[in-house]
């Protein structure tokens, strides 16, 4: 079966005054129809740049320097900008951390939704309004008809994010990319939004790329995980396997650093040091300054993704020992 999305050897560079900065390095992953993938990693790891490059939202000085992004039979990495608009916000929708990145503060929700529908579909205003209402009902906005006449500031943060999700559904996309959609929200609202995303993906067989720094959130929502570190994917596999038996020393460290219930008050297992800056990368494996399993080869050669004994793809020279 052809995957819905197939990203191969994607690299993204920013042409800076000090020289080129490779924010995403040789990243490959794929997603089947209706599948949910979590892209996790710490700040600066390259998650958003990867997400943005799928819909060609990387702007100068950034550019895709290598690789292909096959989506529904077309290579998005090589698609001209004007053609891309038929895909972005149509077949692929994006949800951001701040709902106001999507919403226009001076227009009513109704106007924004109806115009979006009419820009992408050949329908009358009345029909567009019915589609908008249907999507608002889907995200459980109470009294949706009344809500159409209201402005974004009249909604709470959680409601605004629901409306953004309703907007992202207007064109019945086959893929949603959600970049930290609940990071600015409280934990109770986060749980509601995540439950909603999960339900929508399941009922409409929609694909989801969930970008977040929160492993626990990813583990509740996705079927597969890709862990990013310093611009590259260091580990990818089924969510269950990666969270239960992580194969890369970085993922192992991340999971060990989480407070365990039943061990209250104990010292936490910590990863020493911090992620290197992309301007100042160590030779070989980017994790080597922090890794307790580091040997000579780690300081010389960049490890590539290989299947380890439990069937997870791990980029580590010593994947079968750690």
């Amino acid at each position: 079966m052809q995957p819905l999305l197939d990203v191969k050897n994607l690299s993204v560079e920013f042409a800076l005054r000090q020289g080129p900065l490779e924010a995403v390095k040789n990243v490959s992953f794929s997603l089947n129809k209706g599948e949910r993938l979590g892209l996790v990693g710490e700040s600066g790891a390259g998650k958003s740049v990867t997400g943005f490059s799928i819909i060609n939202l990387i702007s100068k000085p950034g550019y895709i320097s290598n690789g292909s992004i096959m989506f529904e039979g077309q290579d998005l990495a090589k698609m001209p900008f004007d053609k891309m608009r038929g895909v972005r916000g149509n077949r692929i929708s994006m949800i951001f951390q701040d709902p106001m990145m999507t919403l226009n503060p001076v227009l009513t929700i109704g106007t924004q939704m109806i115009e979006t529908v009419m820009a992408h579909m050949d329908v009358t205003r009345k029909e567009a309004e019915e589609i908008a209402l249907e999507k608002l009902r889907k995200v459980y906005i109470p009294s949706p008809r009344k809500r159409l006449a209201q402005y974004p500031h009249e909604f709470s943060g959680g409601m605004r994010q629901r409306i953004v999700i309703a907007i992202s559904l207007l064109t019945d996309p086959s893929l949603i990319i959600a970049d930290e959609p609940t990071t600015a929200l409280d934990v109770t609202i986060q749980a509601e939004i995540m439950d909603l995303l999960l339900e929508l993906c399941e009922t409409d067989n929609m694909g989801l790329i969930l970008i977040t720094h929160d492993l626990a959130v990813v583990s509740e929502v996705t079927q597969r995980i890709a862990v990013m570190y310093a611009g590259g994917i260091v580990e990818t596999g089924s969510t269950r396997q990666v969270t239960e038996t992580p194969g890369h020393p970085y993922t192992q460290g991340l999971i060990a650093a989480l407070p365990q219930s039943g061990a209250a008050g104990d010292r936490l297992t910590q990863i020493p040091g911090a992620m290197p800056s992309l301007m100042n990368m160590p030779a070989g494996c980017p994790f080597n300054p922090r890794c307790q399993h580091c040997t000579d080869i780690c300081k010389q050669e960049l490890p590539t993704l290989k299947e380890n004994k439990s069937g997870i793809l791990v980029a580590c020279h010593h994947a079968d020992k750690v």
Binding site: A216, S219, G265, L268, I271
Partner: protein
């Protein structure tokens, strides 16, 4: 009451008047000019004690009044009413001069290490400033020794003392602000979201540092965090707030294993967990009301599935339950829950 309490707050109230100038407040109403004041009721009638050597954490949704409470305890905001006691002395109404010794005993660490460090000062200047201020006449040599001691204790090489904050990562900056707080040998530290701005791999480093410092220096913490698994890990006791009011307060063990208040239950059910079966989240209906128009009765009644007529009229008072937890809920008191 236990004699080991270090900090005690009693019926603390903190409101902010956001009405602006007199002209902003004037309104036409039914043909008459009236004056309208807008007040944010951030903290309402909160009481608790913090025992020597414990970590008391405050949790609750954004805007529920955690930071305001912490700042009022620190004396950074004067309370509208109520009392703050430190080691047996009432401190909320002390004149500046008499407050000075408490400014060394009580220190604060903030969420954003970027904003709380002066970018034009070196690490040495940042840490030595409070040392000189609170130890009049200290020799340069002694100040330097103190500087090196606290830098080492937060895991920083004293060689970095000449560098500026922007030359450090977020985690290292948070180490610097903790070093500054420790430099005056405090007894009590208020930490307001000290790890929220840090990456997961760095959070454990800072939490370990805080736990080590507590053990070595016998510190008492008031800890504020929205990360509930971190709170469960480091707290002795936990206070749950909603819309400026205290809902429930008990040992971390009791709160996390048998929460009683309906809001605490919903909050804990929402914590995402790694692996295993996905647990069922309790969904709250409706939105959080604003602290400008506080609902009558129990502030949680609009979202509570157990609310009845009494809840809509009468403010529930905190009552001690058999497990020692303090809970402010009519349904729990009536045995309906």
């Amino acid at each position: 009451m236990s004699t080991d309490s270090l900090v005690k707050i009693k019926n603390l109230v903190k409101h902010f008047d956001i009405s602006g100038g007199l002209l902003d407040q004037l309104q036409m109403e039914n043909g008459r000019i009236t004056r309208k004041q807008t007040v944010v009721k951030a903290v309402n009638n909160v009481s608790f004690e913090i025992q020597k050597g414990e970590t008391l954490s405050v949790v609750g949704e954004s805007g529920c009044g955690k930071s305001t409470l912490a700042r009022t305890v620190m004396g950074l905001y004067p309370p509208n009413s109520g009392e703050v006691h430190y080691d047996g002395q009432r401190i909320d109404c002390l004149p500046h001069r008499q407050m000075l010794p408490y400014r060394t005993k009580m220190q604060m660490v903030f969420q954003d290490p970027y904003a709380s460090l002066n970018p034009r000062m070196t690490v040495r200047q940042i840490i030595e400033e409070p040392i000189y201020f609170h130890n009049k006449g200290i020799s340069r040599g002694d100040a330097k020794n103190k500087l090196h001691e606290v830098m080492r204790s937060v895991g920083m090489d004293p060689e970095w003392a000449g560098n500026y904050p922007h030359e450090f990562s977020g985690g290292q900056r948070q180490r610097i602000s903790i070093a500054r707080a420790l430099a005056v040998e405090p007894e009590f530290i208020v930490a307001d979201e000290p790890i929220a701005a840090l990456d997961v791999s760095i959070q454990a480093q800072i939490l370990n540092l805080l736990m080590d410092a507590q053990e070595e220096r016998n510190l008492t913490y008031l800890f504020i965090s929205h990360d509930l698994s971190v709170v469960e890990h480091i707290s002795t006791r936990v206070a749950v707030m909603y819309l400026g009011s205290l809902c429930e307060l008990g040992t971390a063990k009791e709160i996390f294993s048998s929460p009683r208040h309906p809001y605490t239950r919903a909050l804990l059910s929402a914590i995402p967990t790694l692996g295993g079966e996905k647990k069922k989240h309790i969904h709250l209906s409706g939105d959080v009301p604003t602290p400008i128009n506080l609902p009558p009765g129990c502030v949680f009644h609009g979202r509570c599935q157990f609310a009845n007529d009494r809840c809509r009229e009468e403010i529930p008072l905190g009552r001690n339950l058999e497990n020692g937890t303090l809970c402010a809920c009519h349904a729990v008191e009536e045995g309906r829950l």
